[in-house]
């Protein structure tokens, strides 16, 4: 796998986490982003996010604590990480819903993290060790959409060759993928310049097939989690008798990825005929689109390492779901039924929310379990629906007690386990979606 290149540049600083220093933090981002060559819009989005997050979380910071800021230019995007130490043992404050009354417009305006999420490309909150809180966000560069390019003439045939694309090759390939009208084109392919810059940054890998002078197909992949990659494609621009291109691309990619640290890879686009030769079928997930249409994602998976054992402690519907999935996929796991002892939990649970406005999607991840898990999930649903979000997914790691402890609360609040992605997190990842439009009372 390609190493990240030296193009990466970063600026870091450490300032008191105290209101009077807010302008300094904003200036740092502003001057830093411009220094890295980002435009007004791109810079403005991050500055606004900094302002909102600083003002919101400063109340939770330990007295006299510092805010560490790292701004990194990754070529196609700026990545901003801010870290601080908390003073407030009241974990509720790290929920999006903290102090928000969904019925009040005013109160929604106070919702710093929500505003921040809207002005950046991604935002994620993590708890580190030692009461550290880290907020990771990125702001993509603005790229023009794909221009018109020619596709290979039909019936063109020649010797198929695999090739490793240069950034320019990939830029051209992305435009071809758009021109081909293929469904399931990820945002970074819709903006060919972005795909090219991601390749340069080592954040995207690709192989192409050529025939004569034409690029006739390609396959891309990039990390999804620390242990799992996501595959995009194969995109094919000419007839593919006997699946020759498809096989060539998938076999080559599998061989290459098998020599990386990844334990597996995922493909979640439309159905792929003859997928059995390459993938395990995991299931389907339906998301309702902004326009009202629904998008169906078929999840396929390929394990890359033979060794994959484990024990999962959980109860209820989750244990039944896991048992069935492990059996169906022949995965060597033992599910041990346990009941969570609520009296031993913290009072407050914490959920992290990743928002994708473009797909009207909220991905909710437990950060810590607590006695209020069901109420907390309901509060999040209410708030996010108020924000116009239609799709809710919850991701839990089977190897993490703080996650599996949510099983009963998820069931209670209308979430249903839909998919198991083996080895994709701490243990396996289970994805829940919300069963219907009615809110739990």
């Amino acid at each position: 796998m390609k190493q990240q290149t030296t193009r990466q540049k970063s600026a870091t600083t450490r300032i008191p986490f105290d209101m009077p220093f807010l302008p300094l933090a904003m200036e740092f981002i502003d001057k830093g982003a411009r220094g890295f060559g980002y435009n007004d819009r791109e810079t403005g989005g991050l500055v606004l996010a900094m302002e909102e997050l600083f003002s919101f979380y400063v109340r939770q910071a330990a007295l006299g604590s510092a805010l560490e800021i790292e701004l990194e230019d990754q070529g196609y995007r700026l990545a901003l990480t801010i870290c601080f130490r908390t003073a407030n043992p009241d974990m509720r404050a790290f929920n999006l819903t903290w102090n928000v009354n969904p019925d009040s417009e005013e109160s929604l305006d106070m919702l710093g993290p929500m505003i921040a999420a809207r002005s950046v490309s991604s935002l994620r909150l993590d708890f580190g060790s030692d009461e550290q809180v880290a907020l990771h966000m990125t702001r993509d560069r603005d790229y023009p959409p794909a221009g018109a390019v020619a596709l290979p003439p039909s019936g063109a045939s020649g010797t198929l060759r695999l090739s490793e694309p240069s950034a320019d090759d990939l830029r051209h390939f992305a435009a071809m993928a758009v021109a081909s009208g293929a469904p399931f084109i990820p945002p970074f392919l819709l903006r060919p310049g972005m795909a090219a810059d991601m390749l340069d940054a080592g954040h995207l890998n690709a192989i192409l097939v050529t025939s004569g002078d034409w690029i006739v197909g390609g396959l891309l992949w990039r990390p999804l989690t620390d242990t799992c990659l996501e595959l995009y494609g194969p995109y094919l621009f000419s007839d593919d008798p006997d699946d020759r291109m498809l096989t060539l691309l998938l076999d080559e990619a599998t061989g290459r990825i098998s020599h990386s640290n990844c334990r597996g890879f995922l493909r979640r686009q439309g159905p792929l005929a003859g997928h059995e030769r390459f993938f395990d079928f995991l299931g389907d997930l339906e998301l309702s689109g902004i326009s009202g249409a629904t998008a169906n994602n078929t999840y396929y998976y390929r394990q890359l390492k033979e060794e994959s054992g484990g024990v999962v402690y959980c109860g209820g519907a989750l244990s039944t779901f896991l048992g069935n999935q492990y059996d169906r996929l022949c995965l060597p796991r033992q599910v041990r039924e346990t009941v969570v002892d609520h009296s031993r939990l913290r009072d407050a649970s914490v959920l992290a929310v990743e928002l994708e406005y473009a797909r009207s999607l909220a991905i909710i991840r437990p950060l810590c379990a607590g006695k209020d898990m069901a109420a907390n999930l309901t509060a999040h649903l209410n708030l996010l629906r108020g924000e116009g979000i239609d799709n809710f997914l919850v991701e839990i790691n089977t190897g993490c007690f703080e996650d599996t402890a949510f099983a009963a609360a998820l069931e209670e609040t209308g979430f249903v386990p839909r998919l198991l992605i083996p080895d994709a997190g701490r243990g396996d990842l289970v994805i829940y979606d919300h069963s219907d439009g009615t809110l739990p009372s």
Partner: protein, 370 residues
């Protein structure tokens, strides 16, 4: 402690090999009351009788005493067997250890080695975690591609590794192909021929590598007691080369790495191998013919040649096939890690096991096609 500063990049980015877990755990996890290992190309007949007796008679008191630091008696016996001086052998803790010694002896960061993309991975691994570039040449028709390898040679090329017979495809270079290759490769670099499975080969056209060293002093050969001699658990392998080459490689290997029981058993195995080799070859031949027939009937493509293994193309991805077979107590090797996704490699064993395996495979294929 800042490990980032301490660790070279090529070590940090190296993907560690995770060995399979012990049988008792695998059986528990896959819920199978029995487990047949058809994944490591072991010999089910066990060591030759003389070696088996030596192992059985091993005295605990001997365990307190260091072994010979340079496998003295074993080298002498090898010298006698092949008609060359004992100092032309270097014995290691499995031939994997001598792979490491050779790379350490000849390469420094910036150098490269050349081998195939779809072969035994240890050459590539050792190079990788030593900061040496491994240039991987695609197989041609499932075999090492001599011209493809020669084309990748440059000033920094120190070693060319040829696995002959190749694991996992079983392809072989004949004497003539090897001679042509050695002539073209030139003397400025080492050519290693890994003959881990050479004792399985009956073809008289198979190269006599030790004899070729007179003409090509840059030729080095690896052999092992793990496969035909069934001493995999004791870890004993060796290399042979010219006295000058072996003298250099010896500098990069640790004395005393080969344990006393391994040395004794290997010595005994050499003294009593004729019947054992014949019986093993017969068993492999029967197993290969049988399994090929089973796969033919099932419409499954196979690839195999020399060696005690056969590759089978599976209609589902090899990882899932592996897990399905594991649930039936059959452990095969997935080929994804060998860059052959969609294939499994099956070690050939005694007929009773081959028949159980065939039964499990037939059931699985049938249920997949249903």
């Amino acid at each position: 402690m800042n490990l980032d500063i301490l660790i070279p990049d090529y070590v940090r980015s190296f993907q560690v090999y995770t060995p399979s877990r012990p049988d008792h755990l695998l059986m528990q996890e896959y819920g199978t009351p029995l487990l047949h290992r058809l994944n490591n190309n072991e010999n089910p007949l066990g060591p030759p009788p003389a070696a088996a007796s030596v192992i059985a008679a091993f005295s605990p008191a001997r365990a307190a005493i260091y072994p010979s630091g340079d496998s003295y008696d074993l080298c002498a016996a090898l010298g006698e067997r092949f008609g060359i001086s004992p100092d032309r052998f270097l014995v290691g803790n499995g031939s994997c250890e001598v792979i490491s010694s050779v790379i350490k002896a000849f390469c420094q960061p910036g150098d490269n080695i050349i081998t195939a993309d779809k072969t035994f991975a240890v050459y590539e691994w050792v190079a990788g975690f030593s900061g040496i570039e491994a240039r991987l040449v695609p197989l041609l028709d499932y075999a090492f591609d001599p011209q493809g390898m020669l084309d990748r040679i440059d000033r920094k090329t120190k070693i060319l590794f040829v696995c002959n017979p190749n694991n996992p495809t079983g392809s072989c270079w004949t004497n003539q192909v090897l001679i042509d290759f050695l002539e073209k490769a030139g003397e400025e670099r080492i050519v290693v021929v890994d003959e881990a499975y050479r004792e399985y080969v009956e073809d008289p056209g198979f190269p006599d590598t030790i004899a070729l060293m007179d003409r090509f002093p840059n030729l080095v050969v690896f052999r092992t007691f793990s496969k035909m001699y069934a001493l995999a658990g004791l870890r004993c392998g060796y290399l042979a080369g010219t006295a000058e080459v072996v003298d250099m490689v010896r500098r990069t290997s640790v004395a005393y790495s080969v344990n006393v029981q391994a040395q004794q058993a290997a010595l005994a195995a050499l003294s009593d191998d004729a019947g054992h080799i014949a019986a093993t070859r017969a068993l492999v031949k029967e197993g290969k013919m049988f399994l090929r027939g089973v796969c033919n009937n099932l419409g499954l493509e196979t690839v195999g040649g020399e060696g005690n293994f056969l590759m089978i193309k599976t209609p589902i991805n090899d990882m899932l096939m592996y897990r399905r077979l594991m649930k039936r107590g059959m452990m095969v090797r997935t080929m994804t890690g060998f860059r052959f996704p969609g294939w499994i490699r099956v070690s050939l064993r005694e007929m009773a096991v081959m028949e159980s395996f065939a039964g499990a495979l037939e059931d699985e294929i049938r249920s997949i096609r249903k």
